[in-house]
Amino acid sequence: MTEEIIIAGFGGQGVLSMGKILAYSGAMQDKEVSWMPSYGPEMRGGTANVSVIISDERISSPIISQFDTAIILNQQSLDKFENSVKAGGTLLYDPNGITKPPTRKDINIYKVAATEKSAELGMSKVFNMIVLGAFLKVKPVVTEEFIEKGLFKSLPERHHKLIPENLKAVQTGKELVETVNKS
């Protein structure tokens, strides 16, 4: 199993930390992992993205241009990455602020209204974990047990008290995800 993922959105949405939690969880589950962030000017005040690979084998290149899954959190990122999803692959997006939804027919498309839900629940800080939950429902590349371990490992100790809330958000995401298109 090799899952090549891009997570893309605005800076501040928790794109990089979502990738980090995923990578840590994969590592805890004895998988090979890589986490390659965008850094620099585009991150400083614009879009942020991170490529995460989780694999049973040694990872050849952490730098990839085609993805098994794209997790998309704004319109710019959708425009940029919709065509980089491999045929038969997966695109998961948050419809908030999306004016031109994805149109491809040869990929599986899902949506998760995480922005709306997190505002409704007053849980905006764990917005990214709702998205992560939706992804894990669609592609269970790591099990929940290891997501918890990944959270322990990737969050500084002073934030460990927030882990139950994060795990609840993962559950919320799992329940919230909707299928838009099946390839």
Binding site: A23, V33, W35, Y39, S60, S61, P62, I63, I64
Partner: protein, 361 residues
């Protein structure tokens, strides 16, 4: 040795390795994409654990001269920077090489020229391997292609630096510096005691006993005949490096008809291109130079008799390809494929270049 699993950025791995390998001092000045090296050191506070000094200098020029001072005292000292900062250090580097001082300099390369960009690049190959400063000198240059190698090569760097009394450079790039991968770390190597330094570096300036003359650290010798002798000694040292300490990795070379030659993050991209090529039935392999000086010239010469062509893949306009051509002496077709200015080639692009420039050319 107890092995502990961590998940770290390449830059953080450099810092962690510095602490664990018994480094005495780090002197640096922040610059993207390697600022995490000093950030991590400052957070870890190694001065409380091992006594290692971490100091933010006022400039790169100052950092490299602090390294000069520490190295002259026989200490394990290092600095890190990225391309424009490394350019500022060139005077210091040639002085260190001239005075035969061991040290570690890490260059996490970004796109140039000038201030250029902050994205990954490999355009500092010439500067690193052909002497970026003046005079006939060489750095020993290691090119890591993973977070684990960023860590391991710090340990290797001290061995080589003190074996040859020569500066060692780890030539990395923004991609390997920023990527986070699994890392296995080992036990702490204690910092050398004064007693150990006296044995390992008897040339160092640690205080003059009555039993010998002064130890003098200098790169100045106004007597040309003596300076020529000094140069001959340096050259003999570089030939020894070529004889004994060349390192490379071969991937899928056994049955390869076509070879990628690539180092650092380009080597990782080439590995993916090999997977894609092999799926199409193309017999492609990779020779990955791990040391850029000394270069795996001999092995490339041997391979050039077996394969039909080689594609040198670099994030530059074509620098290492010159060394590949010199090694292969026209026995097989050698071409270059590169992106630059901070652009990273994709595996598909690299495979396509192999097909159009070499296989179907």
């Amino acid at each position: 040795m107890a092995k502990e699993l961590k998940l770290m950025k390449g830059n953080e791995a450099i810092a962690e390795a510095a602490i664990r390998s018994g480094c005495d001092g780090y002197f640096g000045y922040p610059i993207t994409p390697q600022s995490e090296v000093m950030e991590y050191l400052m957070l870890e506070k190694p001065w409380e654990k091992t006594g290692m000094v971490v100091l933010q200098a006022e400039s790169e020029t100052s950092s490299i001269n602090m390294v000069y001072g520490g190295a002259g005292a026989g200490k394990k000292v290092m600095t890190s920077s990225s391309s424009p900062g490394i350019s500022l250090m060139q005077e210091g580097l040639t002085y260190l090489a001239g005075a035969e001082l061991p040290c570690l300099v890490v260059n996490v390369v970004r796109g140039g020229p000038g201030l250029g960009t902050i994205q990954p690049s490999q355009a500092d190959y010439f500067q690193a391997t052909k002497g970026g400063g003046h005079g006939d000198y060489q750095l020993y240059v290691l090119a890591p292609a993973s977070v684990q190698e960023m860590y391991d090569f710090v340990f290797d760097a001290w061995d080589i630096a003190f074996k040859y009394r020569n500066p060692v450079m780890i030539l990395s790039d923004g991609a390997i510096g920023q990527v986070m991968e699994k890392l296995y770390v080992g036990d702490y190597v204690p910092r050398w005691t004064d007693e150990q330094i006296r044995k390992i570096a008897p040339w160092a300036t640690f205080g003059k006993p009555t039993t010998r003359d002064h130890n003098i650290i200098t790169s100045l010798e106004l007597d040309s005949a003596k300076q020529e002798l000094h140069n001959l000694k340096l050259q003999a040292k570089y030939r020894e490096m070529e004889k004994n300490d060349v390192r490379y990795e071969e991937i899928n070379c056994e049955d390869a008809e076509y070879l990628f030659v690539a180092y650092g993050s380009s080597a990782r991209i080439a590995q993916k291109a090999i997977q894609l090529g092999r799926e199409k039935g193309l017999k492609v392999g990779l020779l990955r130079p791990i040391t850029l000086f000394p270069f795996p010239t001999k092995r490339l010469a041997e391979l050039s008799k077996k394969v039909k062509g080689m594609l040198s893949v670099e994030m530059s306009a074509g620098q290492m390809v010159m060394d590949v051509r010199l090694a292969t002496e026209n026995r097989c077709k050698v071409e270059h494929y590169g992106r630059f200015g901070g652009m990273i080639p994709t595996p598909h692009e690299v495979l396509e270049a192999m097909e159009t420039k070499i296989i179907n050319a």
